[in-house]
């Protein structure tokens, strides 16, 4: 039995995954190289810059050794690469914890935020786009035009502040913009790291209420800003499919409207999946700004703290984790794209 026949006997999903996976390796190496170069862009001796002018020669020598700054650039890169592969991202100068530990602790907060923002963004964007295409000239069509134009121009941090002003300070409806849960309520025991999920698992409804309330404003902020772009592009894709011959044929055959919409959506799925991949990247960048406003305590706020205190190992670690996260998302998106489009040969 030759390789090619064995290959063809594998399930399609497995073939897609196996062809995609090796492409990630050079990308990951590239990411590690970029984060390695990042600290070398610092003007002057990084160790001196990080420790400040009061540093003693011994402490500088110590930090230089810890950062692997001695030796040739090649040795330095190998030192850094070796560390990263073992999960060693250095030690934060601000928190004095290993950066990897700091990032792991904060990741669930950011992921929970992005998770809910994604769901809401997709629901709103796809709903408006479909309604606008199915009923041209209707309310949804006008909303989509106006919103599509305006949404790309609104800074997310400003929307967050306006929501705080109107919904918390003025009307008093929303929860306080300080963190993920009311300080008077104990966080649910960690299972997934998502407070809402953990609260449900623990059956703690006071915690669930509080966590959901705190999520409302930041999720709304991210959705308002990001749904516009997704809606616009979904509308273009969906409108194209909606004019296709097979849709006209289905209509002529007397299929119900909802059935036709479902079929058209199924066919516009691959490009929408790609867009959602990009959306995750945008949301991660936006989370940096939004977390700062809502004192969210996630990766974004950690990164801003790193910028404020010139904590370069922490910043470097954050960029690495963010880039790897996005690469993994793109990988999943590519795989889903090929799964959703049966015409693609593997």
């Amino acid at each position: 039995m030759t390789f090619s026949t064995t290959w063809r006997r594998l399930p399609r999903t497995l073939r897609i995954v196996l062809t995609r996976l090796p492409m990630v390796v050079p990308q990951m190496l590239g990411v590690i190289f970029v984060t390695f170069m990042l600290v070398r862009l610092l003007p002057g001796d990084p160790a001196l810059l990080m420790l400040g002018n009061m540093a003693t020669p011994e402490s500088i020598a110590n930090l230089r050794e810890q950062l692997g700054l001695d030796g040739s650039p090649w040795q330095q890169f190998v030192h850094y690469l070796g560390g990263v592969l073992q999960g060693d991202l250095g030690v934060s100068l601000f928190t004095s914890n290993p950066v990897a530990v700091d990032l792991m602790e904060r990741a669930p907060a950011t992921l929970e935020l992005i998770f809910y923002a994604m769901i809401l963004t997709i629901l709103i964007a796809v709903a408006i786009a479909v309604l606008a295409v199915v009923r041209p000239g209707g309310i949804a069509d006008y909303i989509s035009r106006f919103y599509g134009m305006a949404a790309g121009a609104i800074p997310d941090f400003w929307v967050g502040l306006l929501l705080i002003f109107f919904l918390f300070s003025t009307l008093g409806i929303a929860a306080a913009p300080f963190g993920r849960i009311d300080p008077m309520i104990a966080a649910p025991p960690t299972v997934t790291g998502f407070y809402t999920f953990d609260a449900v698992i623990a059956g703690d409804f006071a915690a669930l209420r509080s966590a959901a309330g705190r999520l409302l404003l930041p999720v709304l902020t991210l959705t308002i800003v990001n749904a516009g772009a997704l809606m616009k592009m979904t509308k273009t894709t969906f409108a194209e499919i909606w004019r296709a011959d097979f849709i006209r044929h289905q209509r002529a055959s007397g299929l119900s409207q909802s059935r036709i919409v479902r079929n058209a959506l199924r066919n516009s799925l691959p490009p929408i999946i790609t867009l959602i991949g990009f959306l995750v990247g945008f949301l991660l960048g936006a989370a940096v700004l939004v977390e700062t406003i809502f004192s969210w305590g996630g990766l974004g706020q950690y990164a801003v703290q790193a910028v404020t205190y010139s904590d370069y190992p922490a910043l470097q670690g954050f960029v690495l984790v963010a880039a790897v996260f996005i690469l993994v998302v793109y990988l999943i998106v590519d795989i889903l794209y090929e799964l959703a489009d049966p015409r693609i040969q593997v």
Partner: protein, 281 residues
């Protein structure tokens, strides 16, 4: 000249585009006549006039250090547009020739350059921008340089796509037969026909650059106080927003929205002007 007149007639016949043009002109006026329009010095702090609501003396109120918000918004137009226009201009000047060469010559080097661009673009823009500016130092020119680096792949990619589709056309073969060198073919024959999408992209990118600059300054990875910059001004007002002091953060944010909107509307108008089929679709 008649091209420009046609374009202006086209813009004026469409309400969205006309609104965009009006906003754009307003910014030009603010940039040129800032000293005449401003009522106060933009970086003059007045501790006695801290957090004044909008009034006859301070049209849009004052921030926590007593600086006049209206005057700072006017002067910030210079800072924000300068950073954005310089960044996009640099990205255009580097990205266009690179895209042209990479699109014209096929081979491993071209493939490699495109892979590098793919890779840069796979980073979340804001995260990479934040890290680069904070490593290079929070200076106005560093912000512009970083944005330029982030935008080069966008222009290169657009020009490359056009160059790829043009290079095998008969008129290029004709130019080659009449003895044109590769350089002449690329810059005299392909470039003029490949520029349209990149020109539309200039307007879109300036809007993106304004948003990114504001975002970077907001988290402290952009320009520093007391330089008037819209994102920085929103950040100054962010602590008071929760106390109900709305004017400090509201007005500079509106300036960002209208500025970005003007460039987005102009990009749309340009795109519809050069490709009327799009509009009907």
């Amino acid at each position: 000249m008649s091209q420009i007149r046609n374009f202006i007639t086209f813009i004026l016949s469409r309400p969205g585009a006309a609104f965009g043009l009006a906003l754009l002109l307003l910014q030009v006026v603010a940039i040129v006549f800032a000293p005449l329009l401003a009522t106060h010095a933009p970086t003059e702090a007045d501790p006695l006039a801290s957090l004044q609501p909008p009034s006859g003396a301070h049209w849009l109120g004052t921030d926590v250090s007593g600086m006049d918000i209206y005057s700072r918004i006017i002067y910030a137009t210079r800072v924000n547009l300068l950073i954005s226009i310089v960044a996009v201009a640099v990205a255009f000047v580097i990205g266009v020739p690179v895209g042209l060469v990479v699109g014209y010559y096929r081979g491993w080097a071209s493939t490699f350059v495109m892979r590098v661009f793919d890779f840069i673009q796979s980073f979340p823009v804001f995260v990479l921008g934040m890290a680069l500016v904070s490593v290079m130092g929070q200076e106005i020119w560093n912000v512009a340089i970083v944005l330029a680096v982030l935008f080069v792949p966008i222009f290169a990619r657009l020009i490359r796509a056009e160059a790829l589709s043009l290079r095998d056309r008969p008129f290029i073969a004709a130019a080659r037969c009449s003895g044109a060198t590769d350089g002449q073919i690329m810059f005299r024959h392909i470039l003029p026909n490949a520029l349209t999408p990149a020109i539309v992209q200039i307007s879109i990118s300036i809007g993106m650059a304004i948003l990114l600059t504001a975002g970077l300054s907001f988290i402290g990875a952009g320009v520093r106080m007391p330089l008037p910059e819209w994102g920085l001004m929103v950040s100054v007002g962010s602590q008071q927003m929760i106390l109900g002091v709305w004017w400090v953060a509201l007005f500079p944010g509106l300036a960002i929205v209208f500025s970005v909107l003007s460039f987005a509307l102009m990009a749309d108008a340009l795109r519809d002007y050069v490709d009327p089929r799009r509009e009907r679709a």
